[in-house]
Subunit: 347 residues, 2 copies
């Protein structure tokens, strides 16, 4: 009988943040690909596009004109999935037909007035400015009594459903704790109750010792391919200090966070020499005015690409019905990311 | 204060099969779409393609020649994600670094020798033949001592990662209960323990009374848009009788199942007059030789399209970080599906 090798043999790994397993099929990357190819985004966009509804000074579809902003610019989403109005609900409910009205606020954050300037090509100071904007929004939205959770995220690239290449992210803030966040909170809480320590603090300490999955680190943050990564080049940024949310960051930590966001997004662009698509998002304490010693600030990057700028991983039949599955070991992915330059290929 | 209306106001619904919530934003379908368009699959494929590795008599990439099959044809996946070999594992494990080797078998099932004949265009008898093949495979794979679960599924269309339009499905059979199946089993079990009844039986009885979300039914099966549907046109086929797996179906039930599969896939093709993409999969009792009175045979259809043959729903940033979200109410979707003819648009 052969001895198990995690770069060769099919196995399952446990994700302690979601309490779910994933299937790893490291040998499967040899499979030829005859399926769908994604289109590559244009390499040359103008700095200003008169047709773009996010460019400074332009009109949006609802007739509102954007300010002549010079760094970040925030406005309420014109096609919000959540609305602020409270509604009265007297519908009878039962076990198998449970629902509840949900209130919230959706915002758009332009990262820069430059239509063609994505995170990896920005100066660190400009990224710091975005982090400061996230902080301001987290405080402002979180202070409303009907907002108990603030989800900051970015969809980058048309393959991730982003309909405008102008650099921007979103915030969806709402009354309830969303499903994925509640799951993570439950697991962080259980661990904290058992050990009186942060799950992610213990996890990164072990990873920093093993050095097998660390892509990069600085004084205050580490970015790694988690042991339980689902997407081929999924990464996780974790603060070295245990704190719960963005308002608790020192100035030095904000700078270090900006630096590590730049490093990982530069490496992503360098991987296939393309503007690398992903969805990213920050998980942090809910704004429900409760104590949350279990929470530990972190940011997920879920990029869809697998083999090249045009071939993505499809999370479909087996993954939807049974279990998330990856075709390359996390350790191989991290070796590739680690080997890539920290300087953008276009620079 | 306005009174809640589920076709207008944002709300969350509870999925009792997964114990998760989804966000419904029914007003959001008005949003204009400027993002990525999917390519439409060619409307005219030949009945036989000399380049297709699934067509009868053709050679696959590993040199093996397909039989000259006349209905269904099953073979082991040449690029399997799971392998049969047992491996020895002595790696030390810990809470945050849990993994285990996994054994399994992956098969491909050609649905027909005709390269251009998908489920909705097949005769009911041909679909019955596929169901018989699923049954044979479920029995054969499930009887192996290292196989405790058999996942039958189909990825249809290039947008669902399908790399060959030749009609085919897959089976991934394995030692462990995959994450999504374990979740469903836990919820079915809890309900059964509390009520001594099948959750899905109780659910469809209520749906058959309310008639709000039923797309179609026959003597033995019902297909509906579940109250908690995530994908815009997601549907669920449930057997009216409470039984756990495909081996327990009567001949009349097999026929009725074939008929309802045909009806829903015909309606799907008719919706946008295109070969409608989806991932589908059957959930049924594990093959672990234990009693499973909680299980109730059902089949999920998860189709990605939202507005047209080329505009899909993107489950991205918010959905990945926070919660699945839909832009149209399940009740609107069912009304559309119900109104579509049961006869294929090409017929
Ligand atoms: O095995 P196939 O058809 O080549 O691959 C397809 O289905 C699999 C199972 O859902 C997925 O893991 C792959 O990402 C997808 O491309
Ligand atoms: O709001 P946008 O950017 O138009 O929409 C995009 O992000 C949303 C939040 O992840 C998703 O619900 C949409 O499917 C996607 O297209």
């Amino acid at each position: 009988m052969e001895t198990f090798n995690n770069n060769e043999h099919p196995h399952r790994r446990y994700n302690p943040l979601t309490d779910e397993w994933i299937l790893v099929s490291p040998h499967r990357s040899k499979r030829p690909w005859q399926g769908q190819n994604e289109s590559v985004s244009a390499n040359t966009l103008p700095e200003y596009d008169p047709e773009c509804y996010l460019c400074a000074g332009n009109k949006r579809s609802n007739g509102v004109q954007n300010e002549n902003y010079s760094d970040t610019y925030v406005f309420e989403n014109d096609f919000a999935a959540l609305l602020q109005e409270e509604v009265r609900d007297e519908t009878p409910q039962s076990d198998l037909f449970q629902f509840k009205p949900e209130r919230g606020i959706n915002k758009v954050i332009c990262f820069s007035p430059k239509h063609n300037l994505t995170l990896p090509e920005m100066e660190v100071e400009a990224i710091q400015k975005i982090i400061e904007t996230w902080k301001t929004e987290y405080i402002e939205l979180g202070s409303k009594d009907f907002i108990n959770y603030v989800q900051i995220f970015e969809n980058k690239g048309s393959v991730m459903g982003c309909s405008n290449p102008h650099p921007h992210g979103q915030i969806w803030a709402q009354s309830s704790l969303p499903t994925q966040v509640e799951k993570t909170q439950k697991n962080l809480k259980d661990y904290y109750a058992k050990h009186q320590r942060s799950l992610l603090k213990d996890y990164i300490e072990e990873e920093l010792k093993r050095k097998e999955r660390v892509v990069s680190e600085n004084e205050h943050f580490v970015v790694l391919v988690p042991f339980w990564a689902t997407w081929p080049y999924e990464t996780l940024i974790v603060s070295k200090r245990h704190f719960g949310n963005i308002t608790q960051m020192t100035q030095a930590e904000i700078l270090a966070f900006a630096e590590i966001v730049k490093i990982i997004t530069v490496k992503y662009d360098n991987l296939f020499q393309t503007s690398f698509p992903y969805s990213s998002g920050i998980h942090q304490t809910p704004t429900d005015n409760k104590e949350h010693p279990e929470w530990h600030f972190h940011m997920h990057f879920y990029p869809p690409l697998l083999r090249s700028a045009t071939v993505k991983k499809f999370m479909v039949g087996y993954e939807m019905m049974a279990e998330a599955q990856r075709d390359v070991s996390p350790e191989k992915s991290v070796a590739i990311l680690r080997g890539l330059p920290d300087v953008h290929y276009k620079a």
